[in-house]
Symmetry: C2
Subunit: 558 residues, 2 copies
């Protein structure tokens, strides 16, 4: 940093802070912008009717001529699920490893964007020049193969983004992390480290994926009938271990659930899944086989209502029945918010007579996390020895815990930047500070509409969901100044109409008398008539029911 | 069992199986019915707009002349919260210990039932004759004082109901469990044991409440400013330990949150809370005191939106601000489903600069469960040595796990009865079997209506909450056969109207042309007109938006 620079380095999140999923980080130096990931998240419970949530990319659109590309760390939905929506507004090159691009291509095809999107394959040896920024990559361990961290060489110094990671010393398929490359980066000097905070609240080390494999062999061996294993479709390592365990215990595997079939296809085609000849069978074939020769690999580990496992549990799966004595392994931990759904599926399976193996990995042995725990996060910090630190990926409290871990390995509190989405960390001439804020937030997608469901629509949906709606329609005569037709009262979601005739009749009387009184007093403005009807009716209904339905008076005039 | 009996013992749940809360168990011998507990549960996420859920007591109402009383095990909402609703339909005596009745009386007063309800105080020495059934009681450890288990002597044999329990060898306030009485019951012979399954999935022992007290003293001592402790208002032991820790560390305590103020009042009045003179101060006084002399005892440990802690975290509490450097202790574990709410509050508190102590008790040290873990459940089974076993209180999977624990201590699988609400366990002449089923289920309470919100109303609320509603009103002339007014289109919760004029204009055109076409074809029945309008409009809107709002065509005729 001998000569003073007039340009500066800016790093910020457009998604990834304070909410699960929807990851997107931005590294900018002067006129060059590099985007890391383009994830989605699933709607919170108050985002009624919303399908998915993506990051607000207004900043990128305003600076579209500067955006050099989107670099993907790995192929999970919360890192690639928003890509089609982003590309529709911003056609820039996409960089990813083989499996990641394989998964992306399916999405782009669905969105009709495959032809027009430039896709560039990278691996851990690649160097990519993006304006003045040079990106290199290092392999990490995570619950999907081919995940990478990234180092961005900028005129101001090196920024490292870990992606999602853990340190697995005995990885499946010998996919070792590039620990030497990480050490080398640290030795050469890292200006700013962005590191995954997902498990920053969890003490100790995360177990190796191999532990699960050994446990699966045990379970398959002991089971006297069929075994169903439900896990994330994207967890190719886990799928590999299910296949391996089946091979060891001489069982055949059938794959059910759309996304599971899809991933098994892509991953084996691209060489990420070793599938012994003849081990995969069609679901139709399982009924012809001895029950103790069958494994069913399934989606639904989160209790998703439409998933294969849920349908099996409810006895509505077309091809697979659960029989008393079958074993079901839930090889996953519920994502926060899904605990109840998973619990219900476990209940249903028990009621069918299945032996269900579930619960935290530490108890059940059939799951480990894909994210590093506190000791691993400290290892990453010590490998990188960054000048400045910015915890990423996680709720605010996790970023805070990660910040404390950084302090514990000797990083000064003032060099740790805990930011919200949009908050800029600015570095110029070796000095880092919180800069301004760019626009960032949630864009809600409901059906085809991008961002057209906002606060008013959500507020109305919320109101409607609580006490329903009562619609009052009346036709007034222009000349006659009297009610020509109605009031008709229609309710939905308010009371059970067949048992509430008295209530609705009285409501009708109240509307009639209110309108007649107002018209006799020469009050004729519709707005005023409606307000009075709403008030009178709202008061009556609340007295009678302690509910406050939305009341919608509609006046027609002929 | 020398002479054959023509009568039989029947035991079943009306609530308490397969859902959290809403506990109600029934023991019947011939013409005598005893009811244990009358709890409520809070609505599931698909019970839109519902306030609380109580058990269906149709069976009790049909057999009202046989019901000898409702016996309460302890004063938690999921055991007493449905009492007023039940008593309104079934005026029977209520039996409970001092604190339990103290908490019940507040509820009865609110419901205007205090005068007409016979309340009978019991303690662990009481014997109550209820027809041919004699009830006795034994003290248990739980997260509220004065909790008891019950033994029912019937002509067929003894039925024991544990209530909620743990074994705390170092209880607060020396409230030791009646372990000798339990041993005695077991020695004399228990025919059927009903035992709490809440923690049947948890290995080992649950920690003693005293552990939390020691940790609180540590936290209070280290904190350089104010300490806020949020816990369940009903956890009088915990409240006692907060007061004790404050006394030890020379802090004053102020109590915030309506239910916390209420319970502290009742519990200290009844002698369940030892409050040293002068230690309680008003919230208004805290600002005059040194920050390191203050403890704030608060509601909101579940992240409840209106609670005192939530208001503090959002800076909207009228009397208490959280300042940077304050310590907040969340002395509770989130009830399943509440994890996200609690997480958000923790995030908010961190953002205000507070030091937040939270997380599972095993990590944070500031909480232990009130329910026994697997080793304690086995201890209870071994103390009671029942002939038959019926796990109670918990989700189906927990009952199953409890059943496995019973097998592990030597109870035969065929002597273990895992039942759903309403399933009768019948015992006659020493032989137990699953009998028939009585009506049981959820009664939803929304406002003043008991049970009038059913499937149709909930389905409509669900539909409305997803994509909103579109109302089409049109006035037709009786003679003219033409549209006299409208179509007017009003939408709520569907699209943002200001940005969707084109869509709504086109909708209006579609309605007009559909109606004109039909009328020119002499289709005049309203039902048919409405169906066609709905279909045409639904198709158009789905094409344009991929949403399916509820469409409500209203035809007025003049």
């Amino acid at each position: 940093m001998a000569k003073k620079s007039i340009d500066k380095l800016m790093v910020f999140a457009l998604g990834g802070v304070g909410e699960i999923g929807k990851n997107m980080y931005v590294v900018q130096y002067a006129n060059d912008i590099v985007v890391v990931d383009a994830g989605l998240k699933f709607p919170e419970e108050d985002m009624l009717g919303v399908d998915i949530v993506i990051p607000d990319i207004s900043y990128l659109i305003e600076n579209r001529d500067k955006v050099r590309g989107i670099l993907l760390t790995h192929g999970h939905e919360d890192h690639i699920g928003g890509l089609s929506y982003v590309l529709r507004q911003l056609n820039v090159p996409v960089y990813g490893t083989k499996l990641t691009l394989g998964l992306v291509e399916g999405k782009l095809k669905e969105a009709g964007l495959l032809g027009e999107t430039k896709r560039i394959l990278i691996n851990s040896e690649s160097e990519v020049q993006l304006g003045v920024i040079k990106a290199t990559f290092f392999r990490t361990n995570h619950s999907i193969p081919d995940s990478v961290g990234m180092a961005f060489e900028t005129p101001e110094g090196v920024v490292v983004h870990t992606g999602d990671f853990k340190f697995d010393q005995t990885p499946v398929n010998d996919q070792y992390a590039d620990i030497h490359r990480m050490a080398e980066l640290g030795k050469k000097g890292v200006l700013l480290l962005l590191s995954d905070s997902t498990n920053a609240e969890r003490p100790g080390y995360t177990g190796s994926e191999k532990i699960v494999g050994a446990e699966l062999v045990e379970v398959f061996r002991k089971a006297k009938q069929r075994v169903v294993v439900a896990t994330f479709a994207s967890n190719v390592h886990r799928i590999q271990q299910v296949i391996d365990a089946a091979e060891i215990t001489r069982r055949k595997v059938t794959v059910v659930g759309r996304s599971m079939v899809n991933v098994v296809g892509i991953a084996s085609e691209l060489g990420y899944l070793r599938v012994p000849d003849g081990i995969l069978i069609e679901p139709e074939e399982i009924n012809k086989m001895a029950a103790d020769r069958v494994v069913i690999l399934s989606t639904g580990s989160q209790g998703e209502p439409m998933s294969a496992l849920t349908r099996m549990a409810r006895n509505t799966h077309r091809k697979v029945d659960i029989l008393p004595g079958d074993t079901v392994v839930i090889s996953a931990t519920p994502i926060p918010g899904n605990e109840k759904y998973v619990g219900r599926i476990v209940d249903e399976l028990f009621k069918l007579g299945a032996n269900v193996i579930y619960g935290p990995g530490s108890v059940s042995g059939v799951h480990v996390s894909g994210h590093g725990s506190q000791e691993e996060l400290k290892l990453m910090l010590n490998l990188m020895r960054p000048r400045f630190f910015m915890p990423i990926h996680g709720e605010y409290r996790m970023l805070r815990q990660h910040g404390k871990l950084a302090e514990s390995v000797g990083i000064e509190p003032q060099d740790i930047f805990i930011t919200d989405n949009g908050d800029i960390v600015e570095i110029q001439n070796g000095v880092a500070r919180k800069g301004g804020k760019v626009q960032a937030g949630n864009i809600l997608i409901d059906g085809l509409g991008i961002g057209d469901v906002g606060n008013i629509v959500l507020r109305d949906r919320k109101l409607l969901s609580q006490d329903g709606i009562l619609i009052v329609v009346v036709t007034l005569g222009k000349q006659e100044r009297s009610i020509l037709s109605g009031p008709d009262i229609i309710s939905r979601g308010f009371v059970y109409v067949r048992e509430s005739e008295g209530l609705l009749d009285e409501s009708s009387r109240i509307v009639t008398s209110t309108l007649n009184r107002l018209m006799s007093e020469n009050v004729n403005e519709w707005a005023s008539l409606k307000t009075h009807v709403k008030e009178a009716l709202g008061r009556y209904l609340y007295e009678q029911t302690r509910r406050r339905p939305m009341i919608l008076p509609i006046i027609m005039e002929v």
